[in-house]
């Protein structure tokens, strides 16, 4: 925009400002009421500024519960719980697998058949012939 355009823009601004002085009194009053209503509902300052002398009383606790720290905790706690839960399930599965292997080992060791029999090629041939007969 060149200088003429900017000059025109500011002249229009001046004209619009003049119009503002001619607003009806009822409108001006209504705007003042609206402003007062807005101020009455102004967002309070953050917790450290609103209750610096409250110590560890209920005021400070309430501010903590409604503050941004609480909203971050509301996300962090479920995520942490989920991670811990997943870890627990994994550990439990591992334990179950180990227990199953231990049972098999115990059964093999407690069997009447000596452990060295499984290394004997003749025993394997015997088992195969038994399976064929069945």
């Amino acid at each position: 925009m060149n200088t003429d355009d900017i000059n025109l823009a500011y002249k229009i601004r001046h004209a619009l400002d003049e119009q503002l002085d001619n607003l009806p009194a009822s409108t001006v009053d209504r705007l003042a009421i609206a402003r007062a209503a807005a101020m009455a509902r102004k967002k309070p300052h953050a917790a450290p500024h609103t209750a610096p002398h409250a110590g560890f009383g209920w005021g400070a606790f309430g501010a903590f519960l409604s503050g941004p720290a609480m909203s971050r905790l509301a996300i962090a706690v479920p995520v942490l719980a989920l991670v811990i839960g997943m870890g627990g399930v994994y550990q439990h599965e591992q334990q179950q697998q180990l227990a199953a292997l231990a049972d098999i080992d115990a059964a093999v060791l407690a069997d009447e058949l000596p452990l060295t029999a499984y290394l004997d090629p003749g025993f394997n041939a015997y088992l195969e012939s038994q399976q064929r007969q069945q």
Partner: protein, 190 residues
Amino acid sequence: MATDKELNDFLQNVERRAFKQAVYAVRKDESALDIVQDAMIKLAEKYGDKPAAELPMLFQRILQTTILDYFRREKVRNTWVSLFSGFGRGEGNDDDDFDILASLEAEQGSAAAESSADQVERAQTLRLIDDEVQKLPTRQREAFLMRYWQDMDVAETAAAMGCSEGSVKTHCSRATHALAAALKAKGITL
């Protein structure tokens, strides 16, 4: 962080211009007042703890959103009302509140030297400028008013309008040219 006084001063400073902005958009004084009140309350409730420097941009953004919400509600309502009620612009046109007599009365004290004819001409000129601003396309009018009436810089205007800085410059330029052409066509020189 804006103190109560800073927020109050800010709202007091922008409320009339915000009202006119809303009137330009919705063309009903009562609706415009409701929109400004809603925007003020939203700013105070949700952003009352923001730094004072951020308030103009935030307020403009809220104001534009509230105006959009108004049009959405109107659209929904109008689908349920009879076709003849239209968009309600005919019956509720409160622009007549800005009559020449009112402006004459306001100016009498400050411009005693002006003749009655000058005052009438001045009032008519102001009214024509007002009309021409209202006739601008919405985005051009928003950009023009934020930049030159609300004293926001290009970056703040772009953030409030949700567009690029280049678009803001284009809107402002087009708005100024359109106003210049319209005023020239009516024989108005500023």
